[in-house]
Structure formats: structure tokens, C-alpha cells
Subunit: 262 residues, 2 copies
Amino acid sequence: MPKAYEEIADDIRRSIREGTRKPGDRLPSEADLARHYGKSVPTLQNALRLLSGEGLIDKQHGRGNFVRRPRTLAVRDNGRHQWEKNRAREPEATRAETGATEHDTGLRLDDLVFYAKYRVIDAPDELAAPFGLPVGTPLLERTYRTRRTTESAPFNLVTSYLVRDMIAANPDLLDEAKEPWPGGTQNQLHTVDIEVDRVEERFTARPPTPEEARALDLPTGTSVILLRKTSYDIRGRVVDVTFVTLPGDRTELLFTTSLERW
Amino acid sequence: MPKAYEEIADDIRRSIREGTRKPGDRLPSEADLARHYGKSVPTLQNALRLLSGEGLIDKQHGRGNFVRRPRTLAVRDNGRHQWEKNRAREPEATRAETGATEHDTGLRLDDLVFYAKYRVIDAPDELAAPFGLPVGTPLLERTYRTRRTTESAPFNLVTSYLVRDMIAANPDLLDEAKEPWPGGTQNQLHTVDIEVDRVEERFTARPPTPEEARALDLPTGTSVILLRKTSYDIRGRVVDVTFVTLPGDRTELLFTTSLERW
DNA sequence: GAGTGGTCTAGACCACTGT
DNA sequence: CAGTGGTCTAGACCACTCC
């Protein structure tokens, strides 16, 4: 016995894939669809929830169910690290022109709203381990939110950790009022004579937690990409650990690997 | 008026996060929970579906609802490309010892079941574009499934495209019976004098389609990572385009970027 | 066969959107 | 206010697991 809600979902899914229903189209009301398929409204809602979970339709309370439009992607490129390093020793005027975020998104500073919060914490287990330092070592925690001026939700959640004693020689680095810092973290580290040699990035994907869905304004039926970035300096020390949460439906990550010649 | 199913989900979520309920624990039956919270069974199922969607619990028909265990991750490392290139010119005996998949997963060949299917197709738009070739150019499509001997579902879905005329000089490359080919694609290309110079990988994440969920045996409440890999040879030609679908809950990707010294 | 989750109904009432 | 989706109920019946 085939399940009614799956059959209905299959039917509607087919109509979307074949283009009978186009992005932006409104579906008939749930009551009408229920009548059309000869099933109850909750059964129909079951079918629509399935499609919503697959990211095919967008449920809008009081307005209707719409075929979802494909999202425009922001590309995040690992070439950004070398790009940022090259700029780290440039004069401030040059660095101020464009930051890494603008480099990624192609937007100008005016289009972006920037928010930063600093605090010093004692390293818990999970952070002491990657830094290779004892639990309790003071770390500077920096929390960033960046959003487009025209949108209400930020497009990423970033938390970065630096070792306080490594950067204490420059008190400006402990002051959140100096953000956004022209030239980014690599320039900040440069002011205390740290040169970044290697960046490791690890990522996985999963559905958002309710908090993430709220913070990033994610509809159901999307994923988040979790990225953990570890920066090593030329002496092999871990100098920065950063956690980034990205909306899966609006982000594409690009990594280029160059190989040695034969 | 707070929503009943959200309140119930919040309560159970809290008990999982605080460790009152531990990974592997079975929750009380839905009927018992409904009585406990003074709500109907469907309302309780709504709450549990929410938690299942967040990947916190595992619904098992006829057995119960269980707190989900964190998954063991397979790491996929971009160092694999250089590693594979280094081996491409080694004698067959060396290459046969370990393939890239075993390199990634840490498993031996005995633990893996390998499946490959070849066919020649005429390049459609989406493939002609990345190769920079006219629509209709003959391409070799290679579909791979790899699974652990002990599991029933493959842990990735791979489809690779090569330009037929680029590799036709070695007829073995058109024969799926030669798979698994010791040394992988880079060795295959080496037999027709192609040297890979650069690999680009692009990623996004989203919920699985029903087909993907079935093929990879993914529970609801997980994501897939979609990878598109493009290989360039030393003459700047695109020599391979590969699409990989990975289960988000079992995969961690690792990318290392080395920076030039100051 | 007992116990569990899965599907489905028919209808009530609430919340949101737009006129 | 009309029309839409969201929540909830009480109960029936089915499908799966395990003893």
C-alpha cells in the first residue's frame, strides 16, 4: 500500500522538476490540493512538509506555498589567504580599500554592516587542545557578524580565538573598537611579528540548530556548513583558531590545490 | 500562546544537551510521552520530528526513539591530490598497495566493495561549458560506488567525466573491467601523457534528495556535501570533471593552504 | 502477540496576510 | 473580512520489531 503523502509529494515534485511549476509560482491552497487528491488537509501538509524539507518549496504562513527560487551563491575561495597575506604589509591606505569579506562577496564596504565583540576567556579543553596549550590559558575571543545593508540577517557567524600573550605587545589588538581592522587578522598578527605560514580548514555540513536558523534567518530545508580554520605561523605554532558557520544554500566554497611538476 | 510541540521539543532537547539523556538512550514511548506532557500523540510526534530534523534523535519504526550518537567521520584531505600524483609514476606493484579511497578512509582494500560503470555520452551544456568544448563532444562517463564490506550502503556517489579523444590512445582506459585501476585517475591520465597541474574543488551543502537519501542510506536530519572537482593539466586544459556526493554526517573535509614566505 | 512508531481522518480553532 | 497556512485532538488502523 503506497503512502498517500509520498505519492502526492512525488506528483508535485515531478511538476517542479519538469518545469510545469516554475520558481516563484504559488501552489493551490492546501484545502484545494486536498480536494484535488481526495485526501485530508493534514495529509496534504505532510506531503508539503516533505517538499519543504527538500528545499523545493517555501511555506509562507498566510500567503501560500511557493516554488523556491535557487539561491545566488557567495563564493569563499582559499586564494583569499594568500591574497590577505600579500596585503598584510601594505600601507593602511591600501589595506583599507577592501577587506577579505568584500573580496569574497564582491560587495563594497558601504553595502556591509559590521559587528565585533571581544572578550578574554580561559581556554577550555576544546580550545586548549588545538592550540597545544594548557587548559586555562587566556585567549582573546572575537565574535563577528557581517550582514548586507539591505538584509536583516547576517550571512555568517564567525568566532576567532587568539592567544592573549602572543598579541599583548600591541594593546590595539585587544580593543574591539578598532574593528573592522584594515587588512584583517594577518595584518593584526604582523603588528606583533607573527607571519602566517599555513592555513588548515576543516568542514562538515548538517541541518541548522534552532539558534543558527534564527541567527542566519534560514528557512527549513537548508543546511549549514561548519568550517574550522587553524592558522600556523612560520615557527609551527597555532596562532589562530576560527569557527565559521555559513548558510549552505547561499555559499559555495572553492579550494584550489596546485601540484608539483614532474 | 506558546506552541505545545515546541515546548516539548525544547524540554527534550535540553535533557539531551545536559546529558540527562545520553547517546543511545531510548526515549519513553510516544504514547507515554503524550500522557506525560498531557498532549495528543500526533502533537508529540510533531515535537519528535523537529528533534529528528535537527539530528538529535533517531526514529526507529517499531523499536523506539533513540538519542543519536555522534558520527565517526571520514576525512577527505586535499593532500590526496599530491599524494596521488606522486604515486602515478610508481610501478604497478607499489600503486596497487593502496588507492586514494583507502588513503582517505584508512581502510584496506579487503574492507571495501568497489563498483564502476563506464559509458560514452555526448557532452550536454553543463559539461561542455566547464571543459570549454562544443556541445556533443564525446565524453567518457564513469560512475563509481564504494562501500564498506560491513555496510549495505555506499559512502559516496562519484561520477567522473573525461574527454574520450584525449584518452583514446590507451583503449584500456575505456574498459570498466580494468577498475579499480591501481593509482587512480592521475595514473590513467599519465598513460596518455597527461600531467595534472592543478585541482579545483567547489562545495555546497543541502538536504539530500529522496534518491540521495536512499542511495546513501541517510536518515532524515542529515545533509549532503556536493563537491565538483575540476582537474587542469600543465597545458591549462580541463582534463577531468568529477561530481561527488558525500554524506554530511560522516564526512569531514580538510584543506591545507600553504602561503608564500615574506 | 505485545509494544512500538507511522499514517490518516474530520473537524475545530488559531495566526498571519492582504484587501 | 476573506483566504491562507499552522496547530491540535481523539481515535482508527497499519507496519515493524522482538520475544
